[in-house]
């Protein structure tokens, strides 16, 4: 069936090509293939630059003039970093030869291969890359809508929400309670909630030492759990309490008016409440029909081409990337692999089997870093952990080792952001 579809698509393209030749005396061979990338985050901006480097005509569609990066935004919450250190423009990407269209992409027609923009204009593509990140599911947790997010911020998309939660923490009295709701899998940045709890605990310990921090979790285990929990014992004893799924931690409803989180077995009220709600692939992926019932986008692990829509590739947090976590590091790696695959496909060649790497650094304190690394390759149609590669930081390591990892974390951020935006 997909073969028949492909043949029909080819015939259709040929017909359009013939028409174009009649009217503009251009042949298909002289028209360079066009690639459109939607989303200027770590995935999309990387992919656009890499496609350009490979000699393709690339248009990057991004609605925002300034991109606010999520990695290290937990340090902004803790007052350890200005938000400006997280903000990047696409000037260098444009200078590298990528056409930037600063508009919202509102629709995709996979049949005519056309992206619709907010102002009614459109862009044609031969291949489309969607890197839209995540959308907060305001329909998933009863009581948690956009109005509630103004009272109990998610701060899971860096920017205004980060600053709002920061202001609330600053305004909280010493002796107050910070309550966080952590979501079930999958979600953006698996160690993120626990890094956030750590750095907020650092802020509270330093400025409001009588305060408490409660994490209500929809999971029974989390990324780098042993490392986080050991460090919490050392740095923040009796400050952080983690309630797992099996001990009644799953938040099933929220009440913004009273800043209350309701679980199956109790109610928890906080002075500052951070709800990290369930998420799904960014809206444009849903509109394009690239997301399945899970809300995320199934992909071919070799090319990142959608399993649902031909000629559309999905990278970054929006994709179902098997064992790879939803991280900026992953998105950056996927952007490069996807660009290489598209270049091969447009030349009529088969793409090569990729190997991808991810590393997630987390800070437990300003000079205490931990990491988890993995190597992934396609196996049985999904990106799978290469056994024996990667791993987490050792459980027993001297402070110098943790300090070194905190330096590596910052170095990774500087290296990657200068590669993507510099």
């Amino acid at each position: 069936m997909s073969q028949a579809l492909t043949r029909r698509t080819i015939l259709k393209t040929a017909a359009i090509g013939a028409a174009a030749a009649t009217f503009s005396c251009r042949t298909a061979a002289q028209t360079p293939p066009k690639v459109v990338v939607v989303g200027g985050g770590f995935g999309g901006a990387t992919c656009a630059r890499e496609l350009k480097r490979r000699g393709l005509a690339v248009t990057l569609v991004e609605a925002s003039a300034v991109y606010t990066a999520c990695p290290f935004s937990n340090a902004v919450l803790a007052g350890l970093r200005p938000i400006e250190a997280q903000q990047f423009k696409l000037d260098a990407v444009e200078k590298a030869g990528v056409d930037i269209v600063q508009k919202m992409a509102t629709g995709v027609d996979p049949q005519t291969r056309r992206v619709a923009l907010e102002d009614g204009s459109s862009l044609d593509y031969d291949r489309l890359v969607l890197s839209p990140g995540v959308d907060i599911r305001f329909d998933a947790l009863p009581g948690y809508d956009e109005a509630a997010a103004a009272i109990m911020p998610h701060a899971w998309k860096a920017g205004e929400q980060t600053l709002l939660l920061r202001r609330q923490l600053e305004a909280m009295d010493d002796g107050g309670t910070f309550v966080m709701a952590a979501p079930g899998n999958p979600f953006r940045c698996p160690p993120g909630p626990y890094e956030r709890a750590s750095l907020i605990a650092h802020y509270l310990k330093t400025h409001k030492p009588r305060s408490k921090l409660l994490i209500l979790d929809a999971k029974d285990s989390f990324s780098k759990q042993r490392l986080f929990q050991a460090a919490w014992q050392d740095f923040y004893p009796n400050m952080i309490e983690w309630v797992s799924l099996s001990t009644g931690g799953k938040v099933i409803e929220v009440d913004a008016k009273t800043k209350t989180l309701v679980t199956d077995f109790g109610r928890h009220t906080g002075d500052v409440v951070n709800v990290i709600p369930p998420q799904r692939a960014g809206r444009i992926a849903q509109v394009a029909g690239a997301a399945d019932r899970s809300g995320w986008c199934p992909i071919d692990p070799v090319t990142f081409e959608s399993r649902l829509q031909p000629n559309i590739h999905v990278i970054g947090d929006a994709s179902i990337a098997g064992g790879m976590p939803k991280s900026a590091f992953s998105a950056n790696a996927q952007g490069k692999v996807c660009a290489a695959a598209i270049a091969s496909l447009l030349r009529g060649e088969g793409p090569t089997e990729p190997k991808l790497i991810n590393t997630c650094y987390s800070l437990v304190a300003p000079d205490y870093g931990i990491s988890v690394a993995g190597v992934y390759s396609p196996r049985n149609g999904v990106l799978t952990d290469v056994e024996g590669a990667g791993g987490t930081s050792p459980v027993n390591a001297p402070p110098s080792f943790r300090a070194q990892e905190a330096v590596y974390a910052e170095a990774w951020f500087q290296t990657t952001t200068s590669e993507v935006y510099g």
Binding site: L245, S246, T247, G248, D264, F265
Partner: protein, 106 residues
């Protein structure tokens, strides 16, 4: 057996439909897994759950190895009279864990 969590409304009006929740922390070891030494880990599951309302059974379940760890039940009943709602979990070793909650019906 480990820790149990129950949720029964403290008060209800006669005739109200009330929701009851019960979660037992338990590994639900299937008996099909092998341990680090290659030998099968013996089966250890909760195989029976019973809820009574003033001594009368209102909900029960037989559990099997395919049921995941930390079994969670949520069900409804009609509030008839004040009294005690009791929960009992029985594991493969025959051990029982009992929890109770009082409900006031007006």
């Amino acid at each position: 057996m480990a820790r149990a969590l129950i949720n029964v409304p403290a008060k209800a009006k006669r005739g109200d439909i009330i929701e009851i929740k019960a979660l037992m922390s338990h590994p639900m070891e299937t008996g099909y897994r092998t341990g680090p030494d290659g030998a099968l880990v013996p089966r250890d599951i909760i195989n029976r759950f019973i809820c009574t309302y003033n001594g009368e059974e209102i909900f029960s379940a037989d559990l099997f190895p395919a049921i995941a760890a930390n079994p969670f039940f949520s069900f409804t009943t009609i509030a008839m009279e004040s009294g005690r709602i009791a929960f009992r979990w029985i594991d493969d070793r025959g051990q029982a864990h009992l929890e109770t909650a009082e409900i006031a019906v007006e």
